[in-house]
């Protein structure tokens, strides 16, 4: 969930009234948001870097507001205020207008076929006669960053470039060139660099270095030129310094390039709908014609065309209390979804504004209706759904066995299913290739390299962490292990194991053996070879030679018991002898 920071004073000024913190918290909740934190720049720096560094930082109060991940229209002060004002019915949702310039007068963006291999999509629009202030400018920059981090997936899907249109001359060309052929002065730099040099320049940049990998190893880098060869930007890395926006900028050229055309359109829509508010003619946007390599042209932005019709179906009406179309229409209008009843009175015509790309199904509209209605006002009903409950047989057996093991004097451990490769292999005297273990590709630490193939390491580690406890230690765990299995749909399978350990001054094999007998007794498995269980001398790398036996049930091996090998004991940083039992309980279900 993205968090939006807004200055409280600016927010209240824009809302035309002030709130107490509690009132504002309540308002956020009603609107489906969450006031996460009330803080200040000073507070933030002081928390992260210490009070010393925070000296001189601003102590203007900031509201940090959690916004649902797909509500891109609420990621800046402008959108947030607009949403809340419409919700409280203080203003009507502005009507966005797309101005299409006369033939030959509008801006054009020509996309060349070289972009196909690296960043095939581009959309653009122009904001005319805009007035920036410091706060508006900051918000404009901040929204781009928020969009880059969220919907743009760290610029991988879409990158936004904004330019002072008065510094450049169209038509513009979006193409891709070899890094050595691209040369320009990047934003806020003092001299020109080639694209290759730019990559080197930003390799250590704390912010930009994260985007280099998106194009770095490609033969051609994307680049946008104006008709005089001025570089607007090298997406998704950096803009040119030439087209830099300042507080004096009046006309803004916005381009979004990317690998996902749907998201590029959404991002462009959000940028223009949020900031067209500051145009001389508010909420107007000048269209740009994009010419594709195949000669086809598109006019962007597209979604500003209004009047999408949506009929609510029966399945979408999720709340019984929202059933009258006229009450629904009223609620939806408060959520920026201007609605009115049509036809025979059972249909709604809903305008989905370009700000609400998150609405892709009628159920999204119903969700908004429910928010506007207020979750607290929804009448709680217990479903009449009649069902008979069943337990999963394996879990039912596990529950029963746990009780009997505790009754036998053993204490339940709860250890991690993930562990190091060493835990299941080296430390148990076996090789990882012999374990058939599932291996994790991206562990953050050695503790999460593999899924366990045995419960034993977890119990040994539990004892190692509890060496100060009085002896004997008697522990058990009934839980899942994981092994590769090419026949399973995901290529791996869980097995429910039972493991018990006895740790004392003497190994106590007879105690673990007695526990096995008890487990078999409660499972109603008699001690005999044909239709019961037997144990037979066996070997295992984790066991002391001659002190290991395999457990057979109806001739099928289910596990082993024995005295733990002294090397294993030492490797798990233990000092006392111990014996263990580990069996698969699935055959007993």
């Amino acid at each position: 969930m993205p968090t939006v920071s807004v200055k409280r004073e600016l927010l209240f000024r824009a809302l035309g009234r002030s709130y107490t913190d509690e009132e504002f918290d309540e308002l956020c909740f009603e609107f489906g948001l969450e006031l996460d934190e009330i803080t200040s720049e000073k507070d933030i720096i002081s928390k992260e870097k210490g009070e010393e560094k925070a000296k001189g930082a601003s102590d203007v109060v900031l509201y940090k507001i959690d916004v649902p991940a797909n509500r891109y229209d609420l990621l800046c002060l402008e959108g947030l205020v607009r949403g809340l004002q419409v919700f409280k019915e203080r203003i009507n949702l502005p009507k966005f207008e797309k101005i299409i310039p006369a033939e030959g007068e509008g801006q054009r963006l020509i996309v060349t076929e070289q972009t196909a291999q690296i960043r095939p999509h581009a959309v653009a629009a122009v904001l005319r006669n805009i007035t920036f202030t410091k706060d508006r400018y900051d918000s404009f920059i901040d929204l781009q960053e928020k969009l880059h981090q969220n919907i743009c997936r760290k610029r991988a899907l879409v990158a936004i470039g904004t330019h002072d249109l008065d510094t450049i001359t169209g038509p513009f060309t979006f193409t891709a060139k070899a890094p050595s052929e691209i040369k320009f002065k990047p934003l806020n730099q003092s001299k020109e660099y080639t694209a290759s040099q730019i990559m080197d320049l930003y390799r250590t940049d704390s912010h930009l270095r994260h985007y280099l990998h998106l194009i770095e190893n490609k033969p051609r880098y994307p680049v946008i030129y104006d008709s005089n060869g001025v570089v607007l930007s090298m997406p998704p890395i950096i803009n040119g310094d030439h087209t830099k926006i300042s507080l004096k900028t009046r006309n803004v050229f916005i381009e979004c390039t990317g690998t996902d055309i749907t998201k590029a359109k959404i991002v462009l829509d959000i940028m223009v709908t949020m900031f067209s508010e500051y145009c001389e003619k508010p909420f107007t946007v000048e269209a740009v014609e994009v010419v594709h390599p195949n000669g086809k042209t598109h006019i962007y932005p597209v979604s500003t065309a209004l009047g999408d019709l949506c009929v609510l179906r029966e399945r979408a009406s999720l709340t019984q209390t929202l059933e009258t179309p006229s009450s629904l229409a009223k609620l939806l209008t408060r959520m920026c979804l201007k609605s009115h009843v049509t036809g025979n009175g059972n249909h709604l015509e809903i305008e989905i504004p370009p700000t609400r790309a998150d609405i892709i199904h009628a159920c999204d509209i119903v969700e908004d209706a429910a928010i506007a209605y207020g979750y607290n006002n929804i009448q709680m009903v217990i479903p009449k759904t009649y069902t008979i409950a069943n337990q999963l047989p394996l879990n039912k057996l596990t529950e029963l066995l746990r009780l009997d093991l505790a009754a036998a004097g053993f204490t339940e451990a709860l250890t991690f299913a993930l562990c190091s490769q060493e835990d299941i292999a080296d430390k148990l005297g076996t090789d990882i290739s012999a374990t058939n273990a599932v291996i994790i590709a991206n562990p953050k630490t050695a503790e999460f390299q593999v899924a366990r193939t045995t419960l034993l390491p977890g119990l040994l580690k539990t004892i190692a962490a509890n060496r100060k406890m009085p002896l004997p230690l008697k522990l058990f765990e009934i839980s899942d292990i994981v092994v590769k299995d090419p026949n399973a749909d995901v290529g791996a399978k869980n097995y429910r194991h039972l493991c018990a350990i006895y740790y004392n001054k003497s190994p106590g094999f007879e105690i673990i053996h007695g526990l096995l007998d008890r487990v078999m007794q409660v499972l109603d498995v008699p001690p005999n070879e044909e239709n019961g269980y037997t144990i037979k001398a066996a070997e295992g790398t984790a066991f002391f030679p001659g002190r290991c036996a395999e457990v057979f049930v109806k001739g099928q091996s289910v596990g082993k018991l024995g005295v733990v090998h002294p090397d294993v004991i030492t490797k798990f940083e233990l000092t006392m002898p111990c014996s263990v039992l580990e069996i698969n309980i699935e055959p007993f279900v």
Binding site: R313, H361, A464, A492
Partner: protein, 480 residues
């Protein structure tokens, strides 16, 4: 013990006799009562423990005893007397005299007493002759006196001499001088500590006093096994679901394909949750060998083109992305599998639940672990609404002891998540159009920590858990 009590009683009776008003020596009393002195001392101590019943003053007494050698002297006479008496009138040559009873020791003592003399000039070598007509064996007499308890009558100097000669031994004996105390009573006897089979058999318990128990001390902890507190909460939650008529879903695959974990749930392939930062992907097996045929094409279509009333996400859906294996990040993947199975039959309404492990590639801290348990409830029926979801949640959380009141709605949002499954999730599976599925999920750890006041999740799960905490944890009663 009964025997001890008998001794105590007899001592008290002896003290009560006339003539004992000045007190008794414990040694003497033991002799009189015919018990071992140590036993009597035991009786004294147990009486002292009862308060002012008796007064006992510790004394150190010295007693003289004959050594085995002393016993021999008492019987046969001292070596010097025996030598003197065996010496004939005319004397004997020194060599022969030494062989007489008493021997050289008797000779040197007799010489020292001037009872005999040595005539060095006698013909045939030195000769031993009597020097006095007769002698008295005072050594034997003194030993006899000591033997009959009259050691005090033997002069101090002689006693020391006899001790030096190792004929007498000086024994020190700790004893008590016993008098009646201010609370003296012969009725006082040390109370019994425990009922014994003998007392039951003989009925003696009817007469015997019993020592009161100390009820303020703790009892002996029983030797027992223990269940893990988090899993006790798991059992309780299973019970709650079962009481509410929910059937348990299969969750026995920690390894899951991206398809079931994300795609089937209509999570777009570029969603941040599918980042390496949040999810454990697998190196081996890196890909799921099988995706459900037919169904996966429908999932692909709803993502890339839409359908079922949805515009979809309109991006290029990649099967390679869906095949990527991971450790499931939620049990909703298991719910998706269960709903998919449900859709293959003629629809009947269901209520499902599961509680099992899920995995997140997160940095560990006081509230985050790389693995934890997810609790999930799902209801599928025709015509369910948000009101039904909230009604079910209220019922569930009330049983959990976390009361849901309208204005406290925010609180449960923080404990877990809930919602209505999207049609883009249900319809490709083949569920009927009018079926709604409501679901909610929460971690098992979170309510456990709230309920038991545990601040650090690492104290609750994993091998570093303190076993004492497991031993000491109370039973799980969420509704009280």
């Amino acid at each position: 013990m009964a025997g001890g009590n008998q001794g105590t009683l007899r001592l008290l009776e002896r003290l009560d006799q006339p003539g004992a008003s000045g007190g008794l020596c414990s040694i003497q009393a033991a002799a009189e009562l015919g018990v071992d002195h140590q036993t009597l001392v035991g009786a004294v101590k147990s009486l002292q423990a009862l308060g002012e019943v008796i007064e006992a003053e510790a004394r150190t007494a010295t007693r003289w005893e004959l050594s085995p050698e002393g016993e021999e002297v008492l019987r046969d006479g001292s070596p010097e007397v025996r030598l003197f008496r065996s010496l004939p009138e005319e004397g004997l040559p020194q060599g022969e005299a030494m062989k007489l009873p008493g021997g050289s020791l008797g000779f040197s003592k007799a010489m020292a007493n001037k009872w005999v003399r040595l005539d060095k000039g006698a013909p045939g070598g030195p000769r031993v002759l009597r020097a006095v007509p007769s002698v008295q064996d005072t050594v034997q007499e003194h030993l006899g006196q000591v033997r009959t308890g009259g050691a005090q009558a033997v002069p101090e100097r002689d006693r020391s001499e006899l001790k030096r000669r190792k004929l007498l031994l000086e024994m020190t004996l700790k004893s008590y001088w016993i008098r009646k105390g201010s609370a003296f009573s012969t009725a006082v006897a040390r109370p019994e500590t425990e009922l014994t089979p003998e007392m039951i058999a003989t009925g003696s318990w009817r007469q015997l006093p019993f020592k009161p128990y100390n009820f303020s001390s703790l009892g002996l902890p029983p030797a027992c096994g223990h269940l893990h507190p988090l899993l006790k909460v798991r059992s309780e939650l299973r019970q709650i679901f079962l009481e509410m008529g929910f059937t348990e879903m299969r969750t026995d695959n920690f390894v899951e394909s991206s398809f079931w974990n994300f795609d089937a749930l209509f999570q777009p392939q570029q969603h941040p949750a599918r980042d390496q930062h949040d999810t454990f992907f697998l190196l081996d097996p890196a890909e799921a060998p099988q995706l459900p045929p037919g169904y996966y094409n429908k999932v692909k279509k709803v993502h890339s083109q839409g359908g079922y009333g949805s515009q979809g996400y309109r991006y290029e859906w990649k099967v390679e992305e869906a095949r990527k294996n991971l450790l499931r990040t939620h049990t909703t993947s298991a719910s998706a599998r269960a709903l998919f199975q449900l859709a293959r039959q003629k629809f009947t309404p269901v209520k499902y639940f599961s509680i099992d492990r899920v995995f997140r590639n997160e940095s560990l801290d006081a509230t985050h672990l790389a693995e934890f348990h997810q609790v999930e409830g799902v209801v599928a029926d025709r015509g369910l609404t948000l009101g039904h979801l909230m009604g079910t949640l209220r019922q569930f959380f009330t049983k959990l002891g976390l009361i849901l009141i309208p204005s406290g709605l925010k609180k449960w949002v923080e404990v877990g998540n809930s919602g209505v499954f999207r049609p883009e999730l249900l319809l490709p599976m083949g569920l009927p159009e009018n079926v709604t599925v409501i679901a909610w999920g929460l971690s098992l750890e979170r309510p456990t920590m709230i309920k038991y006041g545990i601040k650090n999740i690492r104290e609750l799960m994993g091998h570093r858990v303190n076993l004492q905490m497991v031993y000491d944890s109370p039973m799980c009663r969420l509704d009280v």
